[in-house]
């Protein structure tokens, strides 16, 4: 029953660089948690302070109700997968997998049995158990690394960017195996990644981090559809951000942007504390409809298609409306539009979210979208 509790963890490097800033987090027993964020956000530092690799400057770590803050790595009973696997190059696949049991002085026969069982669980072909890591492909090495972590027989699995060194296709296959195995064995898993798709498809809970702080910890759906701040909205998935002016705050909420007044009565304004002034309206590209015909409601603008990009199952359009950029995505089949077409872009007010206008960084967010 390893519930992991982090309380007020702060970690600084070289005096000034703050990697973790007063972070608190509870990971429930058997939960699959993904720490997601851009590089340098502190997600790996957080994982390493759970593992005992980076002792925190202040705060406490407890695993399964036991305070382990002062314990060295080898005393914490964890199973960990490292970014580039860190397979021991002088040992075979099986030698790697049996290293944990060896350290626990498990009898030889039993040790052998555990190693092979875990290799099999990780879908590693047992006829290659005698191969050295250098003789294995990236995907195979990853499976050995997983087996080695599982063979520690800890029910806490820590995964540090476990799929980042793999081809996209193999990575996708393995991420599902990771989650399935963690669920099957009833493990608590904490998985670090910067890949949002990987996070979305494996996590029970996504913890989005930025600059050493936790921004939001929620289900993948909530993180995507109900981001609690502009950073999360921007980092997870793609988004249109419009700078606007609040026209009416209460009944019949309305905002002026893209040169006209929009009716946002159905929009989520729970993140908006104020009742007047500048705001940011966020709408996901797949919620932006494009049509040749004028829609029957008020929430539309006229726009021109500037760029059309075919993405396989989807087509992504970049449009311009009065000098402002809008992004729209729609399924790739059926009749599309081409560059230069004049169209109407529209949205339902339930699909818009309102945020307070940030003090400094909004330009950066909008700039990224138009680039």
């Amino acid at each position: 029953m390893p519930e992991v509790k982090l309380k007020n963890i702060t970690k600084k490097f070289g005096g000034n660089v703050v990697a973790l800033h007063d972070v608190s987090l509870t990971v429930k027993d058997k939960e699959y948690v993904v720490l997601l964020g851009p590089s340098g956000c502190g997600k790996t530092s957080l994982l390493k302070s759970i593992a005992g690799i980076y002792p925190p400057d202040s705060g406490s770590v407890s695993i399964g109700g036991k305070n382990v803050t002062k314990l060295p790595i080898e005393g914490r009973n964890i199973g960990m997968m490292f970014q580039n696997y860190a397979l021991f190059p002088h040992l075979t696949a099986e030698g790697n997998a049996s290293y944990g049991p060896l350290m626990r002085e498990i009898p030889k026969g039993k040790m052998h049995e555990i190693a092979r069982k875990m290799l099999a669980l990780a879908k590693f072909p047992l006829d290659r158990a005698g191969a050295k890591p250098s003789e294995l492909s990236g995907g195979m090495q990853q499976r050995v690394a997983l087996a080695r972590a599982l063979a520690s027989q800890s029910s806490l699995l820590l995964l540090d960017e476990p799929l980042s060194a793999l081809d996209a296709k193999i990575g996708e296959e393995l991420r599902h195996d990771l989650r399935a195995l963690a669920k099957k064995l009833g493990l608590t898993a904490i998985h670090v990644t910067h890949n949002q798709e990987e996070a979305m498809s494996t996590a029970d809970t996504i913890v989005v981090m930025s600059k050493g702080k936790i921004m939001q910890a929620d289900t993948p759906e909530k993180v995507y559809f109900e981001p609690n701040c502009l950073f999360v909205a921007d980092f997870v998935g793609e988004a249109n951000f419009f700078e606007g002016e609040l026209v009416r705050a209460r009944k019949g909420l309305a905002v002026r942007f893209l040169g006209k007044e929009f009716d946002l009565a159905g929009a989520d304004s729970s993140r908006l504390p104020k009742s007047a002034g500048k705001v940011v309206v966020m709408i996901r590209p797949e919620k932006m409809a494009i049509a040749k015909k004028k829609p029957g409601h008020k929430n539309f603008v006229e726009a021109k298609i500037e760029v059309r990009r075919f993405l396989g199952e989807k087509v992504r359009y970049e449009l311009s409306a009065g000098g402002q950029a809008i992004v729209s995505k729609r399924l790739g089949f059926g009749k599309g539009f081409k560059k230069g077409d004049s169209v109407f872009v529209s949205f339902d007010s339930e699909n818009a979210m309102l945020f307070d206008y940030p003090e400094e960084k909004f330009e950066k967010i909008v700039g990224r979208q138009t680039a």
């Binding site: 009973n77 960990m80 021991f88 002088h90 030698g95 060896l102 350290m103 520690s152 820590l158």
Partner: protein, 505 residues
């Protein structure tokens, strides 16, 4: 187009010239004794000298491994000023010419000026050899620990390994080849040292000392036999070590991690023993001649100082000429090895390693035989001898640097229209400059400090290390101390220049 072709032709001519130079002036002279010999005779003296040499090499290498590996680990895992200090201290005995070391070690262990606890003989030779082979082990192993990714250690510990078990099962096996190479360097170095050993040997005789003794007594058959065995053994060691470094299997089972976990708590004791050994057995004896210098009443007489200065002039002249000539041919040879030109890279790399491990007094004898028919001034003969054993010191670092260069860079320069020569001058040379400098300094230092080979070919002219040996044997300690100081000062300045140069480039 004609210009490009001419440049390639010139390049190939240089390669051929360096190959010819290597055979005629480096390799053949070094192993000529193997060709010239009329068979081996095993006199009782030869066998006992060889046995003594092996015993000394085994003991001093074992001591160096036992204390050198923990020290290498300590250096590699320290940070900042602590690391810098330990690093520099380890290098110090390495830059002291062995004859100066021999004098200093003798003063400390065997004379009334120091502890006076060891007679000249076996154990004094062991004490001496340990001082100069210890840095080879520490250097090689700590470099390997430095390059080792710490993540393996972290991974082992995440699986429950305590520090000691982690070292035994993961860190140590991963630097195993460096340990073997370090041990091989230490062993062959001990096997071949002549000059300093002569000072502290007393009645004991090691094989290299026996080579010189036989030669001076006119027993050429004895000298040749001993030389051949020394060369064959050293080369056999080289190949065995290289083979083992690649092939030696490794198991992680056996010892109980729980027991090791208890032992790991004694790490403070281990650190104290390691540092204690390093300070008392290596550093203090190696630099004890400073204590003697401080206690001296004034300088030696002018006539003696003049002798030292004359020797200095000889040493410098030889070292400078040899470094310059070897740089010219060695550079081409290094390019040939580094770029594996005509598929000959591996061959010449191995051939250079052979020259490197051939014991210098055997090499000196061999060189003497090789150049015997040539009527040349003695100083030229000494220079010819030095050409041979300093050559690999220039070639090895440059070849390594060339081998690590990204091939794409020169190709990129060529696509931009650079001729091979200009690509070399503008791209390759600036990138490998630190290694060129390092090679030059090492060759120069090696020439300045070599005793055995010089003794084997010289009669009337003495280089500084040879002079030190004769001064110590004549018990002229003040003169020897001054000569040691000068030699050490030169080496030290050169080392500083090299480090600066490497840093800047």
């Amino acid at each position: 187009m004609g210009g490009f072709l001419k440049a390639r032709l010139l390049g190939n001519l240089l390669y051929v010239a360096s190959i010819l130079f290597f055979f005629l002036f480096v390799l053949l002279p070094a192993i000529f004794v193997l060709i010239k010999s009329g068979g081996i005779t095993l006199e009782p003296g030869v066998l006992s000298a060889l046995a003594t040499s092996f015993e000394i090499a085994i003991v001093s290498t074992a001591l160096s491994l036992a204390f050198g590996i923990p020290l290498a680990w300590m250096i590699s895992r320290s940070r900042g000023i602590r690391k810098q200090i330990l690093d520099s201290l380890v290098d110090m005995p390495l830059i002291m010419p062995t004859s100066a070391l021999g004098f200093s070690v003798y003063l400390f262990w065997g004379s009334q000026y120091g502890l006076d606890v060891l007679e000249k003989g076996f154990w004094l030779i062991v004490a001496l050899h340990t001082t100069f082979v210890f840095p080879y082990v520490v250097r090689t192993v700590s470099a390997a620990f430095d390059e080792l990714d710490k993540v393996y250690e972290t991974a082992a510990r995440s699986l429950g390994a305590n520090l000691l078990t982690c070292f035994r099962t993961v860190s140590f096996p991963l630097v195993k080849s460096a340990v073997i190479i370090g041990a091989m360097l230490a062993f062959t170095r001990s096997l071949s040292e002549t000059g300093a050993t002569m000072m502290v040997a007393g009645l004991a005789s090691t094989a290299p000392v026996a080579v010189l003794a036989y030669r001076n007594a006119g027993n050429m058959q004895g000298a040749i036999s001993t030389s051949i065995i020394l060369i064959v053994v050293a080369v056999a060691f080289l190949f065995t070590a290289k083979y083992l470094a690649r092939k030696l299997p490794f198991t992680v089972g056996g010892i109980s991690p729980r027991l090791e976990s208890r032992l790991a708590r004694l790490s403070l004791l281990k650190d104290a023993a390691t540092l204690g050994f390093f300070a008392l057995i290596i550093l203090v004896p190696a630099f004890f001649f400073f204590v003697f210098l401080i206690g001296m009443n004034g300088l030696p007489p002018q006539s003696e100082l003049d002798r030292i200065y004359d020797s200095l002039a000889v040493s410098f002249l030889v070292a400078a000429a040899v470094t310059a000539i070897n740089l010219f041919f060695g550079f081409s040879m290094a390019m040939l090895i580094g770029k594996n030109k005509w598929g000959l890279g591996k061959f010449f790399e191995t051939a250079n390693d052979i020259v490197l491990v051939v014991p210098t007094s055997a090499l000196g004898l061999s060189l003497g035989l090789y150049w015997a028919g040539v009527k040349l001034p003695e100083i030229a003969i000494i220079a010819l001898a030095h050409l041979s054993f300093t050559f690999p010191y220039i070639v090895t670092p440059i070849a390594a640097a060339v081998g690590q260069l990204d091939k794409n860079m020169e190709e990129a320069a060529s696509t931009l229209g650079a001729s091979p020569y200009r690509a070399l001058r503008t791209i390759t040379l600036p990138l490998i400059l630190p290694s060129v400098l390092a090679g030059m300094v090492m060759a120069f230092m090696r020439s300045i400090s070599e005793t055995g080979a010089t003794l084997a070919v010289s009669k009337d002219i003495a280089t500084v290390p040879v002079l030190i040996v004769s001064l110590v044997n004549a018990e002229q300690f003040p003169e020897a101390a001054v000569a040691c100081l000068i030699l050490f000062a030169i080496s030290f300045v050169l080392l500083v220049i090299m480090r600066r140069g490497v840093k800047h480039a």
